[in-house]
Symmetry: C2
Subunit: 358 residues, 2 copies
DNA sequence: GTCCGGATTGGCAGCGCTGCCAATTGTTGC
DNA sequence: GCAACAATTGGCAGCGCTGCCAATCCGGAC
């Protein structure tokens, strides 16, 4: 145990090791030629197409043949080459998934739902991250399309003209996720962010809060957060209220941004009685600010988030928020893509969690 | 705005829409044949190999030819088919990434580092999730290998014999991540979980805590957490202490598991003065329990986590924990795989954050 | 003007598999 | 026992691209 507590964080290259494991795998020193379906066919003394049929359980073959082929596969340690298989057949078993970020747990959730559903259908997912940048989205969409995926899952409904063109021209099925506020290209699975914002506003207004502020992150990039914001203001307006103040941090959403954002907003608008955050991470930051400064919640200040993360439910006072079916959205989109039905809009709705912070 | 606050969570199929966007993309009603490199060659009046060379900026060609080819590509909206390209050439530009979970932010962090580095090198990542199940790991490794990736990133050093065999037999480069406590197959990038556990124990013992408990999740599946646990006990032993009690929840780690785990442990061992959690999520849950029950931290109970998540830094009292370079590990592994050097072990170390909860 | 070497270009054989079709074998009805 | 039919099997073209090699072009040296 030569590690010390305060390790230098910088990478320290450790000693090179003489690993020979790999070389051992080479048989008799000859250059190892990868094992192909033809090798299996020869080993099993059947035709190539028979091996192919057995391995895909497609078409007909006798039980005896199956056994022979499977034995040969096991003996040789054959791994089918899906690159070749995909090229030869029509469709690939790949689905491309484009998400804006991996920092916000929302997108791993989406991925989780999608990959689980895809695996069931025998599909693999190729992922790409855009960092909320539409130009990067265009680039990664092109890059994913070059793998000739059976379908593409993208986030949101807003895309560059170039991205739209590529998506349409490619002819692959596209599912746009987590937003139903606007026209989609093909399959749309999500919920109305605008409605969620409005519902949050109505809830806060209904509970009697009157000096309501907004703490958000960079809305120019996160279009869905912008829609919630718009819906929220609309909802306030319907209740005869106006936003008492708002704070936008330039960074992506985070606990830190929420904590500092609320601090800044309270400094400018001290008589706030409720704060609406662009999401739960931000709200948790706000909650920590209140705890740290002894502001009773919701007595001094009510807090409201978005997403319904687990952490919110487990705070000493459960966070008032809106739960969004992210995992389900991923799974639903994946299933619809695999099923190959007509263009559809699936609104999964959302659930307002009253919690105890508002 | 026809959404209501308390949406039913169950999926509600929305009306099918007659989307014709896709059909518009079909030219002149004929069945659209995908555009191939041969089409581009014809359009540009050059040979296929010339187009290929231009598109890959490989080999030599005149400036005039490049312009002609690029114009033809733009005119036809050609997207190269990497499936075919990969089959024809030797190596693919795919890296398979196998992670145990997407629920714990640690793995998205790893993915983030890896995908960012891979994109720079012109690689794409195919991901698969094992749910901490070694049999599923074996299955997904096989599935990823069938895409003939240039390399594979897996988590941890412990694998089924079958997984090991496949990895070695495939001949692809493998990077094993987030653990350096044991022998690796090829490239290993991470840090010592055992040392991290020991460092945590020394820290708590050094601060004068004597009745130290452990709250963890399912260690039989999460081998790295098990190593931290072992290191922690070892560290306590070196300080002349023994574990005052422990609580293992059967579920995966989560804020909820931490909160309930601490509650249960305190019920059994009321005179605990410090709690070591299997990670920060769990520790945050413990912190929430303390807040909810008015236990002063660290006066009544000290808390110590693992991973160094942002949220810990922003708690009213910053969490005492160990920061692990997860993003860096992903990026380093990706770069090493692309670089194709010899087998290596890179120990990135870790950093103990003193925080204010211990 | 001719020759030489390098730059540029095109032709074409596969990469490993699947899909089609034809050949072969086994089965059932009468 | 034989035809008709179904089940099973093998052969082979070709998916779209790259890599190799040969053909062609170009500019300068002679």
């Amino acid at each position: 145990m030569d590690e010390e507590g305060n390790e230098a964080f910088a990478a320290r290259e450790a000693s090179m090791r003489d690993e020979t494991v790999q070389d051992e795998a080479f048989r008799d020193g000859a250059v190892r030629r990868p094992i192909t379906l033809a090798d299996v066919a020869r080993e099993a003394r059947v035709g190539e197409s028979t091996v192919s049929r057995v391995l895909r359980s497609h078409g007909s073959f006798s039980e005896k043949t199956r056994a022979r082929v499977e034995a040969a596969v096991a003996r040789l340690g054959y791994v089918p080459n899906r690159i070749a298989g995909t090229l030869a057949s029509t469709g690939s078993r790949l689905i491309g998934i484009v998400i804006p970020s991996l920092t916000n747990i929302v997108f791993p959730d989406l991925l989780r739902g999608a990959t689980a559903a895809l695996e069931q259908e025998g599909f693999q997912s190729v992922i790409a991250v855009t960092d909320y940048d539409q130009d990067r989205e265009e680039a990664v969409v092109g890059s994913l399309l070059s793998w000739r995926p059976a379908g593409l899952i993208v986030t949101g409904l807003e895309h560059n003209p170039g991205t739209q063109r590529r998506l349409v021209a490619s002819g692959v099925r596209v599912a746009e996720l987590l937003d139903t506020d606007g026209p989609g290209l093909d399959i749309v699975v999500g919920y109305s962010n605008r409605a969620a914002g409005a519902a949050s506003a109505r809830h806060l207004a209904g509970r009697g809060y009157r000096r309501i502020g907004y703490i958000g992150h960079d809305l120019s990039k996160d279009r869905r957060a912008a829609k919630r914001y718009a819906g929220f203001r609309e909802g306030l307006g319907q209740a005869g209220l106006a936003l008492a103040g708002e704070e936008r941090v330039a960074s992506p959403s985070s606990v830190e941004a929420g904590r500092h954002g609320l601090e800044a907003l309270l400094a400018r608008v001290p008589d706030l009685d409720a704060a609406y955050f662009s999401n739960d991470d931000m709200a948790l930051g706000g909650y920590f600010h209140c705890l740290a400064h002894g502001h009773p919640v919701p007595g001094r200040l009510a807090l409201f988030g978005y997403n319904g993360l687990d952490v919110g439910r487990l705070m000493p006072q459960p966070l008032a928020t809106i739960r969004t079916p992210r995992v389900e959205a991923g799974a639903t989109a994946a299933r619809l893509l695999c099923a190959g039905g007509p263009a559809t809009v699936v609104d999964l709705g959302f659930e307002l969690i009253e919690g105890a912070t508002a």
